[in-house]
């Protein structure tokens, strides 16, 4: 047995690749559903905050990501936008990442069609701007100066829902869906701490631990961390079998497989050390 564990340390990496692929593929093909439970997570705080906003609030959803993190953030975007539409809030899309402008457009337009929401009345996609934090600071004094037209070059004056909106002070909540920098941190620093606008957010699982610091200080009203955050929001909004909730089953199995790898790798390491090998 000890010999087996010593040898397994030299396992071809392609075998590991294959096992990981199977850990993901089998739960998807077998439609395995493990129900997602939402505990006392920051995702619940985020949902509660959006839910308690007065109807017709102006909410900026900033799509600060690109396709590389789409599987995590797109389900989040869809769940958040759906919730905002259902609560009859006005959704103003922006993007600090160029590719976020197109991904946000698809999330908003698809949901708007199914929920009967009208572009320029209930939602608008203002598109992408360079500058990150600098751009947000300028929005603090004039959003129109940053976005004189929307993503499709429709002038600000021709968009009815933007009437009466001048600066960030007219925005009741900013939700940044962020894959890194610029993203949530820029919104917290500029819109939140400088202009006092409530900031919520969704982020990739990689950046979630860092952002917990902003939750304890109330610099953020809530946070959706990775696919789990997206699944929580889908569950709270009432989306049955949304992409994130469905993703939780392969995620569960794959986590177990990786933990098993780590344990076997350690047994192999210690048995080699005991046997005198490196």
């Amino acid at each position: 047995m000890a010999n087996f564990f010593q040898k397994i340390g030299d396992l071809d990496r392609r075998v590991i690749f294959l096992l990981i692929a199977l850990a993901v593929i089998i739960p998807i093909t077998t439609d395995l559903i493990i129900p997602n439970i939402v505990g006392a997570e920051p995702s619940r705080d985020m949902f509660d905050y959006v839910d308690a906003l007065p109807e017709g609030s102006n909410v900026i959803v900033s799509f600060d990501y690109d396709p590389s993190t789409m599987p995590e953030l797109q389900p989040m975007a869809e769940a958040v936008v759906r919730h905002l539409f259902e609560k009859n809030h006005k959704v103003i899309g922006t993007a600090l990442w160029p590719q976020g402008a197109a991904l946000g457009q698809h999330a908003m337009s698809t949901l708007a069609d199914s929920l009967g929401k009208e572009q320029y009345v209930d939602w608008v996609n203002l598109g992408y701007k360079t500058g990150g934090a600098v751009m947000i600071v300028r929005m603090g004094t004039s959003i129109k100066a940053v976005f004189p037209a929307d993503r499709d070059n429709v002038p600000w004056e021709d968009i009815p829902m933007l009437e009466g909106i001048n600066s960030l002070k007219d925005i009741q909540l900013v939700i940044s869906l962020s894959a890194g920098d610029p993203g949530i941190i820029a919104w917290v620093m500029m819109a939140g701490d400088r202009y006092g606008i409530p900031i919520g957010g969704g982020c990739t699982a990689v950046s979630a631990p860092q952002l917990y610091t902003y939750l304890q200080t109330d610099q953020m009203v809530g946070l959706l961390g990775g696919l789990k955050g997206a699944a929580d929001y889908e569950t709270l909004v009432g989306i049955e079998e949304g992409p994130a909730v469905k993703g939780m089953s392969p995620q569960s199995i794959a986590h177990l497989v990786i933990m098993m790898f780590i344990i076997i790798g350690n047994i192999s390491y210690f048995s080699r050390r005991k046997g005198g090998a490196r």
Binding site: E72, M190, K246, A254
Partner: protein, 217 residues
């Protein structure tokens, strides 16, 4: 032609080409890798033109009500200076543009990082020491001791010996727990991306194969 199905097949083809790298490096992977770089760059340029240069520069330079606002030549010229880096004879001009970018960023970051990531964090740590249940008080203490000892670990102006050394050791312990959490979340993130692609291949692409092969369905 069914553009939707063609789009799915294009997506599946590039996905499979990229995954072929898992076996070993090969021409299919390299082809798609190079294509990705080129198409992404093209996307960035087009969005910069349509979403930044036209609305934020050109339409300020030539306002809709006619006329010409010469002050907007300044950022245009500075943006051109940025490109001067490509021409060795005038490459020095790009420093002017860099100076503006770096100066603006530094001025903004200096005050906001201090406000949001230093002062607000110190305040949050102090306020966390609150009365409540035994568990809440214990948690508050862990937070305060964790932050202070973590900071001591990063303080290199004093040798990590004696009391400072013991505090710094406690700091490493807290940092290890935090890094462990980060590692756990990183594993989750990478797997989520894989789940997304596998779901696409299994649920979007596979069902279109019979239709593409003319088998009905």
């Amino acid at each position: 032609m069914n553009w939707e199905i063609l789009g799915i097949w294009l997506g599946a083809a590039v996905t499979l080409c990229l995954y072929s790298f898992l076996y070993r490096d090969n021409p299919f992977y390299k082809f798609v890798e190079h294509l990705f770089v080129g198409m992404s760059a093209g996307y960035w340029v087009i969005y910069s033109i349509y979403n930044v240069l036209i609305p934020n520069w050109w339409e300020n330079l030539f306002p809709a009500d006619g006329g010409f606002d010469a002050i907007w030549l300044v950022p245009g010229i500075f943006a051109m200076f940025m490109l001067a880096r490509m021409v060795p004879k005038v490459a020095g001009l790009s420093r002017l543009a860099l100076g503006m970018i770096v100066g603006t960023g530094a001025g903004l970051n200096m005050v906001t990082f201090f406000q949001s990531n230093a002062l607000a964090q110190v305040k949050g740590t102090m306020i966390s020491v609150a009365a409540g249940s035994v568990w809440e008080v214990f948690s508050s203490l862990v937070l305060v001791v964790g932050v202070v000892s973590g900071l001591v670990y990063f303080f290199f102006s004093k040798a990590h010996t004696g009391f400072v050394g013991r505090t710094a050791n406690m700091g490493i312990t807290i940092l290890m727990v935090a890094f462990g959490a980060s590692f756990g979340y990183t594993i989750m993130a990478r797997l989520s991306l894989l789940i997304g692609r596998c779901t696409f291949l299994i649920e979007d692409w596979l069902p279109t194969i019979p239709a593409m092969l003319g088998l009905g369905g």
